[in-house]
Amino acid sequence: MTRGLGWVAAVLLMGGLLMAFGVAPREVTQGNVQRIMYLHVPSVWVAYLAFVVVFVASIAYLANRSGAADRLAHASAEVGVIFTGLTIATGAIWGKPTWGTWWTWDARLTSVAVLFVIYLGYLLLRGMIEDPERGARYAAVLGIVGALDMPLIHFSVYWWRTLHQPPSLLKPGSATMPPIILAALLVNFVAFSVLYVYFVAKRVRLLRREQEAFA
């Protein structure tokens, strides 16, 4: 079943590439550099999705101590860190020609960077504790605390960059996108989500086999 999922993800990714380069038009103000967005925005979505899954799985683990929930949390955190790293890297590559700098302490960049280090720490903690049962418990606590921290990070970083209280709660509405760009983005959203599920399913199975092999 995982294999089928992999093929679906591959086909969807191809479709996403086709939409990003073949169908979507050259953006008027930014030029072709804007095409990085079809990669960058779905990555960020998958990263947040992954950490929400870690949160839910961590609560489930502390509630009923099922190994499956622990493996799901571990796999999701690992995949999430990869997509967070990808988000930061593609954001930097987009920022260089657009803003003229690889990195700026922009609100959204900063909050993604903070998430990146929190969940890198999560993986570090998992690697440093020998007793797997204890490691699972501690990681679950960190997974919960990290997720609870996400809204705090979002608001604090946002206020930090905008000197005074922002007008709206989440973020000012961006200009409406042309439907064709939206469609290309949507295909990539679906493709990346399926890829996430595929990676997590594969990693979960691998974790289970590792535990069986070294039990």
């Binding site: 590439l17 990085i36 990869i82 593609t90 590559i93 020609p97 890829l195 199975r205 691998l206």
Partner: protein, 44 residues
């Protein structure tokens, strides 16, 4: 505004390398485990 195709290629190339690299790591680890299983079974 210039097109900066180089940056677009760099971004997509990097993504391809990272995602394919992670996938290969998973596949290789799985193969190792299968080999380990087979060795254990043949020994017992």
């Amino acid at each position: 505004m210039p097109d900066n195709w180089g940056f677009v290629v760099a971004a997509y190339g990097l993504a391809a390398v990272v995602l394919a690299g992670y996938w290969r790591r998973l596949v290789r680890r799985e193969r190792e485990l299968t080999a380990l299983d087979a060795r254990r079974r043949s020994r017992s």
